[in-house]
Symmetry: C2
Subunit: 182 residues, 2 copies
Amino acid sequence: MPALSTDLATLHTGRHLSLVRRGHWEFATRHGATGVVGLVAVTEDAKMVLVEQARPPLGKQVIELPAGLAGDIAGEESESLITAARRELLEETGYDAQEVKLLTEGPSSAGLTDEMISFFLMTGLTKTSAGGGDASEDILVHEVPLTQMPEWLEERRQAGWAIDPKIYVGLFWIEHNSAVIG
Amino acid sequence: MPALSTDLATLHTGRHLSLVRRGHWEFATRHGATGVVGLVAVTEDAKMVLVEQARPPLGKQVIELPAGLAGDIAGEESESLITAARRELLEETGYDAQEVKLLTEGPSSAGLTDEMISFFLMTGLTKTSAGGGDASEDILVHEVPLTQMPEWLEERRQAGWAIDPKIYVGLFWIEHNSAVIG
């Protein structure tokens, strides 16, 4: 591995993000969270559970995996990624997951941020509330049959929604996971 | 769609990135580029072409799709995404692509940045140079049989490499694209 610069400097500290420089390289880093979870949630009748919300950075509606931060709640800074995965799925979609399994994890944009996302497969789902997110969120829930997924996403993309590519990460893992596809 | 705040402010302007606030939401935005391309490159003998490089934000080696910025070269600010896709594949991997096809596009991390990635399928590949990136880059090229891909990636992830999840986006599209899988 080529040597990475140890010259680190914080250029600006915001409330939620900081802009950092390492050598000549600038990137964004989050504070107040220990990880990010992306949830590949599949119902008993083979539907994928997705969420839709307005995203201020993009200025448009985005269809994406249910997702959220771990350790971002005061008093719960040490929650595990699995605990965060179950909490976020419940908050956003109203589904309680009996089985939670780590699929993979990796950087969301390796040139721009140190953010890493952990993808969890969420199955054994029971609907226990309406979902929709916490008090600051306004989240729509979509349940889409796996057999219709690529076409459903592509239709919406062409109609103006932004489609988070991480949904395709989830679909790949669903198709290659014997626990889901039997 | 709920109303998105029109209260925009730049918190810090770096050389390559700025930290921006929209209402209460902070995010990172790039300057000096018109887009980001992620390249799903498949050789005639069914190998996927991947790159590996040290990424300063993560401080480790990352295996990822060949990728790069469009419009980031002085005098070439108006290059198309397709031109950037062919140029970046050649620079990073030494492969010239005869066919270039847009697969999908979407946000890399919709809560953290306005960055959008356009995924292109690159086929009809001819090796014309060694690759390895431009003068500022130090890139290793991997060519991995599609049949070995999930296992190859997972072995490396468990051995300490970071694996960019966008590789799985590429694999999903390869498996669902009749031009590739026949």
